[in-house]
């Protein structure tokens, strides 16, 4: 069963499928906007949905490494870049609803708002931090930077996820259940990394599974 799954994940078709699934929230939003069915406050709905999906895709991206090891599915790595780029795609839409409808494309006014409102400051910081990661997500950039430096840069996703949760937590008025839920997931994913790192320091690494051949 696992072997079948791994073989499937090694195929290009699996990537196409993940791409399609990751586009579904966007396609639903497009479809609903054509039907004029984006609730009474379309801008807010679009903004909240794209914000939610950014956090979700950051969480999916952070799931890849622990899931590879815990589920013994090393091929999951093939989807990590795509999931990360989808997080970036949704955050761009999220940011555009803020820059456009909220700030009337007034960049100076927007930057003033960014400086003045802590929840915007952290959200904007997370967005800016995602940009270099999106740019350097190609194989060419991994080569140019070298694995170690590239990895160090891309560890900033941990900071982005934390800032994203804070951004959401500071936004809500009273009902903090959803931001806390995201915070809980991000917390688990980061604590797993911490434990993993601590245990790696005390024992030599042992590869658990060999990769299957990719087609």
């Amino acid at each position: 069963m696992r072997l079948l799954l791994r073989k499937f994940m090694a195929r290009e078709l699996a990537k196409a499928l993940v791409f399609l699934l990751s586009s579904v929230p966007f396609l639903i939003l497009v479809w609903r906007s054509f039907r004029g069915d984006l609730t009474a406050n379309p801008v807010e709905f679009f903004q909240h949905q794209t914000g939610d999906w950014t956090l979700r895709f950051l969480i999916f991206t952070l799931c890849i490494t622990p899931f590879r090891k815990l589920l013994l599915l090393p091929e999951l790595i093939r989807f990590r870049r795509m999931l990360g780029l989808f997080a970036f795609f949704y955050v761009c839409l999220h940011f555009l609803t803020y820059l456009g409808p909220d700030q009337s494309f007034n960049v100076a006014g927007m930057l003033k708002d960014v400086g003045k409102r802590p929840f915007i400051t952290v959200g904007f910081a997370a967005f800016v931090l995602l940009i270099p990661m999106a740019i350097t997500s190609t194989a060419g950039w991994i080569r140019r930077l070298g694995g170690k430096r590239w990895q160090a840069l891309h560890r900033s996703i941990y900071v982005c996820a934390i800032l994203g949760v804070i951004h959401y937590y500071w936004l809500v008025k009273a009902d903090v259940r959803k931001p806390l839920f995201y915070g809980f997931l991000v917390g688990i994913l980061l604590i797993w990394r911490l434990l993993n790192w601590l245990s790696k320091r005390s024992q030599p690494a042992v590869s658990e599974v060999r990769p299957v051949e990719t087609s």
Binding site: T39, A40, V43, E44, P101
Partner: protein, 319 residues
């Protein structure tokens, strides 16, 4: 480079293999469940459609002097985009969760510093004064706004009837609360029952509306049936819904949002573009159904009528 020496382990410190493996299963379980919840919940929220019907009775009204000449918001928007935390904190929750809310029989008790405290049935309230249709601007602290044809009459009509005493300085309002009918309330972060308050002179101002309907009909449950306040120059949360008690008193009453975050929601909560919410600007607002923002007006555009209530007051301090 620092190379840390591995500390020696005693047998008791070594985690048994079964526990170790279980921990993996546990984490795996959490991971899968978490990811599935995140994705599933998100998609279902995207696909959910609001209901569009509500039971209501037509109300006959007379013309009113207190009305603005602006484009009225769509009834469907006003009935499906609500802050009524007793029925859940998402905008679509009240329309969904309030459908079985029982509003008959209903009484409103008026008590405290009044000469003739008494209970009013809803029927008595409906017949106490001629019902007027008033088109008001309504501005939420969250920076969205609507224009609604409310139905009701000035709260002062009923207050005059019970005759406030010389000690009367404030009016406290209380919403209905029944955790059985409002099971979502306890997760929303507010204390219930919802309470609000006005200074007596604010409450006696003719614009302060005791409201029993909108769009020509009785109030839908999600908009605060069967009787609510509408105070058009204050942020929306001051316009308390589903009122069961009005108490006239000598001291300033506690108010729900103020209790939650005193620095963010003051007792007065007058609409004021010059006094920002600590977390966002109040200079602009978005009319439901529109994309870009409008300028917000001082006292929500009702300065001529209400500014005198606050003359000499520091509106930043008493926000």
């Amino acid at each position: 480079m620092l190379i840390k020496k591995t500390a020696e382990l005693t047998p008791a410190q070594i985690t048994p293999k079964s526990v170790y493996l279980n921990r993996r299963n546990f984490l795996r379980g959490i991971g899968i469940a978490g990811a599935a919840t995140v994705a599933g919940e998100g998609l279902s929220a995207l696909l959910r459609h609001p209901a569009t019907v509500h039971a209501s009775t037509k109300l006959a009204t007379v013309k009113s002097n207190y009305t603005v000449d602006e484009k009225i918001s769509s009834e469907n928007d006003v009935t499906h985009y609500n802050n009524f935390y007793e029925f859940g904190s998402e905008k679509g929750d009240p329309a969904k969760n309030s459908q079985n809310f029982r509003t008959t029989p209903w009484t409103v008790s008026i008590e405290g510093e009044v000469k003739t405290p008494r209970k009013f049935s809803l029927d008595e309230i409906l017949k106490l004064a001629p019902l007027e249709e008033r088109i008001y601007r309504h501005r939420c602290v969250e920076r969205w706004s609507i224009v609604v044809p409310w139905i009701g009459y000035s709260l002062n009509a009923i207050l005059k009837l019970v005759e406030p005493t010389a000690k009367a300085k404030y009016v406290a309002f209380q919403s209905f609360y029944d955790p059985k009918q409002m099971p979502q309330a306890r997760y929303t972060g507010l204390d219930y029952p919802y309470v609000e308050g006005l200074r007596l002179d604010e409450a006696m101002h003719p614009l302060a509306l005791l409201c029993v309907g909108m769009y020509g009909e009785t109030l839908p449950n999600q908009d605060g049936a069967p009787v609510r306040m509408v105070i058009p120059w204050k942020y929306g949360y001051k316009s308390i819904k589903s009122i069961v008690k009005i108490k006239v008193q000598s001291s300033e009453p506690p108010t729900t949002w103020n209790r939650l975050a005193p620095n963010e929601y003051g007792f007065y909560s007058n609409v004021n573009p010059n006094v920002d919410h600590p977390r966002w600007s109040q200079a602009t607002e978005r009319r439901l159904g529109e994309i870009f923002m409008h300028k917000t007006l001082l006292f929500n555009g009702y300065s001529d009528q209400v500014a005198s209530l606050y003359s000499g007051m520091d509106l930043k301090k008493f926000h």
